[in-house]
């Protein structure tokens, strides 16, 4: 027996930096004994571009397109955070039509992001068909974005004082068609996904407790999957979210399945928000006149919005010039990923992919 013990040794597996399920360049060093993970270490920084330093030499306007390049799957929600911080500083109140356009575009972006996540998550777990189903729906959203903003991704659509362009009749037609099909599509997709194989793989692994949510500063669907009702759209209403009726879906146990379910339900809630915003959409200008050269008054400003991954805080410090003295992002996935090293020990290697996938990370946003 003793000899067996001597042979049985733990060893290290390098997951990443190039790994299909990390969706970007993330490295996780796993210390395993057989199939079991003993401990893990998450290594960041492979996509670090030094944006916070770069911001010191760019003007406020030049930083706008850079905001798209953090979380490239829900870029408009990041623009919203940055534009909102500048509007706070300048004391600009934007026209009501612009607020509703922002809500519509923001929620469509959230749907697109969640759909991409569902597809990629299932792909990680070995199911290919759901990926195609959700991508068909997501592609329609991308087409709508192209119609209005001119770009499918990295839209650069939000402006200080409003948005770049008004919604077009063609967009309205496409949106109408999309809203007609999306509920049915989500129902079908859910039926397709939730087979016994999927449930066995995601249920009862990767538990996150309510205490963990506080300890690790978790936000977004990861926090809500554990039953913590924290959504900035409800808890700290910005824009016109206080005029819109929607629910905050919550999980119960905090396992991977609950996080999946919360995102699926959030898609439906976002659809509800878009429908209401369309009904409430007033006529009028889509942008307020804003200064061409933006100079923020001296001081510091912070603006928090709910992105598809959680609480995004944009911190700007101004010395009165045209360039920010300090630009800092408090990004949701950074904190959400920090719990990974606590979740992995004790799980099998195959579950690592499921747990990492359920957190929903976008690497350029974490590394900045």
């Amino acid at each position: 027996m003793d000899t067996v013990k001597e042979i049985k040794k733990d060893f290290f597996i390098n997951m990443g930096p190039q790994h299909p399920s990390t969706h970007g360049v993330l490295r996780v060093v796993l210390n395993v004994e057989g199939e079991r993970v003993l401990s893990s270490e998450t290594v960041l920084g492979y996509a670090h571009r030094g944006v916070e330093k770069m911001a010191e030499s760019k003007t406020y306007v030049q930083m706008m397109p850079v905001m798209d390049r953090f979380d490239y799957v829900s870029s408009m929600l990041f623009e919203w955070g940055y534009v909102g911080a500048m509007e706070r500083a300048l004391g600009i109140k934007i026209p009501e039509r612009a607020e509703y356009i922002r809500v519509i575009m923001g929620e469509l972006n959230r749907i697109a992001s969640h759909l991409l996540w569902v597809g990629a998550f299932l792909l990680d777990l070995g199911a290919f068909t759901p990926f195609l189903w959700v991508f068909d729906a997501r592609e329609r959203i991308m087409d709508m974005f192209e119609e209005v903003t001119g770009q499918r991704m990295t839209n650069n659509y939000f402006r200080v004082g409003g948005v770049k362009d008004d919604l077009t009749p063609q967009f309205m037609k496409m949106l109408d068609e999309f809203l007609k099909m999306i509920r049915e599509r989500m129902k079908d997709t859910e039926e397709l996904i939730e087979s016994i194989i999927f449930l066995e793989r995601v249920k009862d692994i990767g538990f996150i407790t309510k205490e963990d949510v506080v300890n690790y500063s978790l936000t977004g669907p990861v926090a809500r999957g554990s039953g913590v009702s924290y959504d900035l759209r409800k808890n700290e209403p910005y824009s016109v979210y206080d005029k819109i009726d929607f629910e905050v879906p919550l999980g119960e146990k905090g396992d991977c399945y609950d996080r999946y379910k919360v995102r699926m339900k959030e898609v439906i809630q976002s659809v509800r928000i878009v429908e209401q915003a369309l009904n409430l959409l007033p006529e009028g200008p889509y942008a307020e006149k804003a200064p061409k050269v933006i100079k923020l008054p001296e001081g510091e400003y912070y603006n928090a919005v709910e992105t598809s991954r959680g609480l995004l805080g944009v911190y700007l410090q101004s010395d009165g010039s045209t360039k920010p003295a300090r630009f800092k992002l408090r990004d949701p996935a950074f904190s959400n990923l920090s719990i990974l090293d606590k979740l992995l020990p004790g799980n099998k290697i195959s579950d690592v992919v499921a747990i990492l996938g359920s957190i929903d990370v976008v690497i350029p946003e974490i590394d900045r």
Binding site: G45, E52, K53, V214, N215, Y216, S217, Y302, G313, Y315
Partner: protein, 143 residues
């Protein structure tokens, strides 16, 4: 939390901020930075989480900024304090595990070391990086 109690128990002085203009509800300047862990404990007992830790270069030293937030109300609270370059600050990792990466990032960018941090390392910048890039005095290395 009773903010009055917080101000009374620690060497905090209130800074006037408005949520509409700044995005935080309350801000305090901390005089004795050794009190930080006890302040964090007081926040934790009330159910607050640590939203972020950051810093900025004032030109003659650094200003640290800790943001605390709570789930059930709009109550984002900022704690500021001044330190000199290469100064040491008490870690909060024992109270908020999320401080682990936040503090590593501040170390990586500003060179602030945290006393008692379990694994202080360069988090985002590559190995072999020299200097601390977010200091205003930092210059890129010559080829």
């Amino acid at each position: 939390m009773a903010l009055v109690a917080l101000v009374d128990n620690f060497s905090l002085s209130k800074i006037d901020v408005s949520y509409e203009a700044k995005g935080f509800c309350h801000a305090f300047l901390l005089e004795k930075k050794e009190e930080l862990p006890n302040i964090a404990k007081a926040f934790k007992e009330e159910g607050y989480f640590l939203e972020t830790i950051t810093a900025y270069d004032r030109g003659d030293g650094l200003k640290m900024l800790y943001l605390f937030n709570v789930h059930h109300k709009v109550h984002r609270t900022a704690i500021y304090f001044d330190i000199s370059y290469n100064d040491q600050v008490e870690t909060l990792t024992g109270i908020f595990p999320s401080a682990n990466w936040f503090e590593s990032e501040v170390y990586d960018m500003f060179g602030v070391t945290f006393k008692g941090h379990p694994d202080l390392k360069r988090l985002l910048t590559p190995e072999g990086m020299k200097g601390f890039p977010l200091l205003k005095s930092w210059k890129p290395e010559e080829e």
